[in-house]
């Protein structure tokens, strides 16, 4: 088929098909040139830095000085650093709690939005706004909401008579943790709700009707129809959610910069602090590299989630 294209019918004297003509329609040759721009970007600025990052973690590089190979020294140093383990705990805690909350509320919101109601399109559009607005800018709004003296939340609760003094949202260890988790959940819900809603809309209503005739109550309809049909999309969405919560940087950096006493430091913020502010590139790279096993686990979950979809279809 491809060869036909080489000999245009219009020309009076058909000429020999040269090697160049054959090359011009060769799929692999063309494919290679079509891939060049994308691959150049991904290799130069993604694959190469990824490898370089792992290499840096084995050196004592500092800003402005290429390091020497020091083996596992950075990792040994980190494993004895109690701050590092506190940060690992923070990251895992933050990711787990925020992801579970985001999933539960997101799914609930998706189920609500799937109902018939007036102004549905408008409500759906409004719900997505926290996802549109840049994280840093909404985090600044949260910073103001969490202000220790002029917080509107403290004011509201005080006027309702629920608390006596202002809540020190970002100054207390556990308050700060819950506050940043709340902000993260707030930011993440729209994405999960809207993508799950798209999944819900593909579920045929006749399944629910049939189940209702068979006497299923609303919990059973959810458990045995909605949930199984939604599993593949849940797997993918949650992989992304976990991945980006685990590597979160912006929100923490704006709200607390890791404080109070490192209570909200995540691995990403710690690596920024040590590598860019502290100038210790090797150590920062080691912290980043330590995140890779966790990310790998998340990717595996996504992979098996996708596998599951093919089983269901086949």
């Amino acid at each position: 088929m491809a060869d036909i294209a080489v000999a245009p019918g219009r020309k009076a004297a058909p000429r020999e098909t040269t090697a160049w003509d054959r090359l011009k329609v060769n799929r692999n040759w063309l494919g290679f040139w079509f891939m060049v721009p994308a691959m150049a970007f991904l290799i130069l600025f993604l694959a190469y830095p990824l490898v370089l990052g792992v290499w840096l973690s084995f050196t004592d590089a500092r800003i402005g000085r290429t390091g020497n190979f020091v083996g596992l020294e950075n990792y040994e140093w980190l494993s004895e650093d109690s701050n590092f383990w506190l940060v690992v705990f923070n990251t895992v805690f933050y990711t787990t709690v925020a992801s579970v909350a985001k999933f539960a509320i997101g799914l609930y919101l998706a189920l609500l939005l799937n109902e018939r109601m007036p102004f549905k399109a408008m409500i759906r559009a409004l719900v997505l706004i926290p996802f549109i607005v840049p994280t840093v800018l909404s985090a600044i709004a949260f910073w103001w909401i969490y202000d220790s003296n002029f917080s509107i939340v403290s004011w509201g609760l005080r006027n309702l008579g629920l608390i006596d003094g202002n809540i020190n949202f970002l100054g207390d260890v556990w308050n700060a943790r819950w506050s940043v988790i709340f902000a993260n959940v707030w930011r993440g819900i729209p994405f999960i709700a809207i993508t799950l809603l798209a999944g819900l809309q593909t579920v045929s209503p006749s399944l629910y009707e049939a189940a209702t005739i068979d006497g299923a109550n609303s919990w059973q309809r959810f458990r045995y129809i909605t949930y199984p049909l939604l599993t593949p999309i849940i797997a993918v969405v949650m992989t992304f959610s976990v991945l980006f919560t685990f590597t979160d940087f912006q929100l923490i950096w704006v709200l607390t910069r890791g404080g109070p006493v490192n209570a909200t430091h995540l691995m990403a913020t710690l690596s920024y602090q040590r590598a860019i502010l502290g100038g210790n590139l090797g150590e920062g790279a080691a912290i980043s590299t330590a995140m890779i096993p966790f990310l790998f686990a998340a990717i595996m979950i996504s992979w098996f989630g996708l596998q599951r979809r093919t089983w269901q279809q086949g």
């Binding site: 600025f45 830095p49 109601m117 759906r124 800018l137 909404s138 729209p190 006497g215 590597t247 980043s288």
Partner: protein
């Protein structure tokens, strides 16, 4: 199904009139008070929580300073004498317009570069089906899963080596690594829906691959291109860690970085200007979003579903 049977099971109250409409699904089985409690109330609460920070941001941006810090004398939830002082200060006493322009410029340039690369890559993977195209597709999906937070340290040394440090080019060239995987994946989905027969006809008529791409595929994929474009644009605008690491001089900063670094003097936070800055930085995106809601949603869900 008959109304009576279903009515007895789900809704013993028997509010189910004769208005059975296939498009309604089963929602007519619920009575209004019930829907009020199970649907509108929780939905209202969630929407309130999701939107309140923006209300608060907008209100703070137009409040006079003395009202900001006195919650007892003035009702904090409303203001009767709005002021545009904060916006005025923002526009004429800081480099805010410059930062806005930087952000816009970087986002547009990076998005354009990414879309061009992605169109070529997605077309090659879906339609040229060269040797190993499937594996390359899988690798691009994996690239999607590499977050900027683990790349910024080595990237900063790379950026320094290439002499791009503290120039907008550093961002224009690094943002595509976030955008290309996403938009390639999205466009692959769009290209797959375009009938192959169209392309075969063109091939028989003597069109080259390049002509097929520009004259047949691209016009048909315009909705997909718009989706990819605005989504990438939003991602660029939202990006923070690269901009924070690769830029140092004030006049090159993007809005998110500038607001965080330049607006806080000492311990006295300039809340009014801060909120005005955050609001002005979000508005362009919200306006863009308002015009393309459907494209936006399809971009978001399309990339996940594929």
């Amino acid at each position: 199904m008959t109304d009576q049977t279903a009515g007895r099971i789900v809704d013993p109250g028997g509010k189910t009139g004769g208005k059975s409409d296939a498009s309604e699904g089963m929602s007519y089985l619920d009575s209004l008070p019930r829907r009020l409690v199970t649907l509108y109330l929780p939905l209202g609460i969630i929407c309130f929580v999701l939107l309140f920070p923006f209300y608060w941001m907008a209100l703070t941006a137009i409040k006079p300073d003395e009202q900001l810090l006195d919650l007892n004398k003035y009702n904090p939830l409303w203001t009767w004498n709005p002021t545009f002082k904060h916006f005025y200060k923002l526009l004429f006493e800081t480099q805010y317009p410059r930062w806005l322009w930087n952000t816009m410029f970087v986002a547009t340039a990076a998005t354009t570069l990414s879309i061009i690369s992605s169109v070529l890559a997605a077309y090659a993977i879906v339609r040229l089906k060269y040797k190993g195209a499937q594996y390359i597709g899988g690798l691009i999906f994996l690239a999607y899963l590499v977050p900027p937070s683990i790349l910024f340290i080595p990237l900063s040394t790379v950026v320094f080596q290439y002499g791009l440090f503290d120039s907008p080019m550093a961002l224009i060239l690094t943002y595509p690594t976030i955008l290309i995987p996403f938009s390639t994946w999205l466009l692959m989905g769009y290209f797959k829906t375009i009938p192959f027969e169209l392309e075969e006809c063109a091939l028989i008529d003597g069109a080259s691959r390049w002509q097929i791409l520009t004259k047949i595929i691209l016009p048909l994929a315009i909705p997909g291109l718009i989706s990819a474009f605005i989504f990438c644009f939003t991602l660029c605008w939202n990006e923070f860690i690269y901009a924070l690491t690769f830029l140092s001089s004030t006049q090159h900063k993007t809005v998110p970085v500038a607001i965080v670094n330049e607006f806080v003097d000492g311990d006295i936070y300039r809340w009014g200007s801060l909120m005005a800055g955050a609001l002005a930085g979000s508005l362009p995106l919200v306006i863009l979003y308002a015009f393309f809601v459907e494209h936006y949603v399809s971009a978001m869900t399309g990339a996940v579903k594929e």
